[in-house]
Amino acid sequence: MGDVVQGILSALQWQTVVASALGCALGIVAGALPGITISMGLVLLLPVTFGLDPATAMSLLIGVYTGGMTGGSISAILLNIPGTPSAVMTGIDGHEMARRGQAGKAIGIAIWSSFIGGWVGWAALVLLAPLLARVALSFGAPELFALMLLGMTVICSFSEGSIVKGLLAGVVGLVIMTVGMDPVVGVERFTFGQVELQAGISFLAAMIGLFAIPQVILGLRSEGPRPPSRPPEVPFSEMLPSLGDLRRILKPSLWAGAIGTAVGIVPGTGGAIAAVLAYDQARRMSKAPQEFGKGSPEGIAAPEAANDGVTGGALIPTLTLGIPGDPPTAVLLGALVIQGLYAGPLLFERNAAVVYGILTTFAIAKFWTVILTLLGIKAFVQVLRVPASMLFPAVAALTVVGSYAIRNSVFDCFIMAGLGVLGYFLTQWRFPLMPIVLALVLGPPLEEHLRTSLVISGGDVTTFIRRPVSAALLALAVLMVAAQLPWRRWARALAPITVGSSPGGRP
């Protein structure tokens, strides 16, 4: 109980509350600006957190995460340019409503449904995370290895593009993480005599490169839609919904919040998938499904509530198991590491006050997002007019200073740039980057748990199968990959070869 109170009090300190507000404002801007993702906003702010205490640092970043989800819908509704992939669905009905001269009402529905959905996710986080952490506390090295392998396979399987590319990206990430000192006996691996590589590749520098550099390369001379010189007016009074509108969006928002939370819990999914599922569900439940696509309030509320539900859901595996639910939570894991904290069941045991501080600041951020969007909408709309020719070079400069500041090392800037270039080519070749990022986070503990398991079992590999939890988790990992493999396509491709190679074979 003492930890709960201490956590809540740490989140209510003035500097933490101010950091949360600042984070929300920056998150709304990052979410609203096309080409700047929430993950990118987070990685660019990471260097700023070095000098902050854990409560203030996490408040700032969780503010960005929460604010970013709502920010994405501002540009989607007003300009039909979704700031984040998860806001694409919001733009369908939101922009339609804005075109009819009801931009304020559309923004208002987005804000309030986000708020409702966010609370659903928060409630799930508060209720489920401590329980899951308690279960995970009983895990030994084999279970932890199996759990991390499952987390990786889930992300590789659900990533955009083919599963083979997802798995390949995951392996590339693990390969990168084998550089440096071996985690068990301290033998140097793949350092090529470079002193800077002995400590391994800084996963923060790697993350900055992978998340930001491809976006800078793609965004600087982007031929995408440009914001108009005069964005639509958004009167304050219109953003406060009527009782009738609130009643109409309440049920779909609660449903969508639950869908978003459930999707968020599954690692590697994220807001875009949740928004599509929630939109579809809301249309099925609606009394006026014909209005969807033509400015339906439920059509705005459902994806928005789902987006914010995802944030709570994604934090559950992140905090309890150390497996990030989506790309922004992977960055939040990195932010915890900067503070000397390692997410997982032990975090709840050893740093419970920090966990409850995070939960409290997450709730505070929801209030800030509503207040700041309502009061600052005009300023946020103006930010959308910052030209790409200034925005993206400034982002590139931030990546350099950010990667340098991690260890005051120019070498880390080279690593960041190198991995950024790799990230660009992989993006163009349709490889998902999320498995690489996850491998950077999970790689070292994955190997450590594997080797520790075998040391404990005296080299008996069946230890993973004889223990029921690890066996179930490994079976799930295998099933997850097997279910995603394109068996039918392979069978079709192999059919002519099989038929041709066996004389007299059946057609």
């Binding site: 691996r189 800078v216 594997l450």
Partner: protein, 146 residues
Amino acid sequence: MSAVKSLLIALGFVGLGLAYLWQASGLPAARADDLLGPATMPFALGIALIVLAITLGAAALAGGAGDAGLVPVRRQHLVVLLGILAYVAAVPLAGFKASTALFLFGGALWGGQRVVPAGLFAIGMAILFHLVFELLFRVALPRGLM
């Protein structure tokens, strides 16, 4: 064309896997207190890299596995990419502030800004970085050799 490119990408990964395995072969073997040793994980990853790359190549030959729609690498992207690499390479030589100002100026010009706004933007941002990171956060930014 897409299949050929996919095949080349797959071959690239096979090459990477082979090079990685070759490097891993020099790592010390397992010990009594560490049954897998430092080499096993890299060996497993190298083999996984090669197997997955072959699968990717086979899928490309069979005309599937999500390989349709490789986005072409555009010349203007390569210009930005080289600009970023040159900027990072210049940091230890010219120092952070000078190289950043130059990069921001060039980036803004390349992005379509006129000379004066680009110049003001570059100088303004370099000063802002100095104020925020050097004075506020006490980060000793690289000063360069000059």
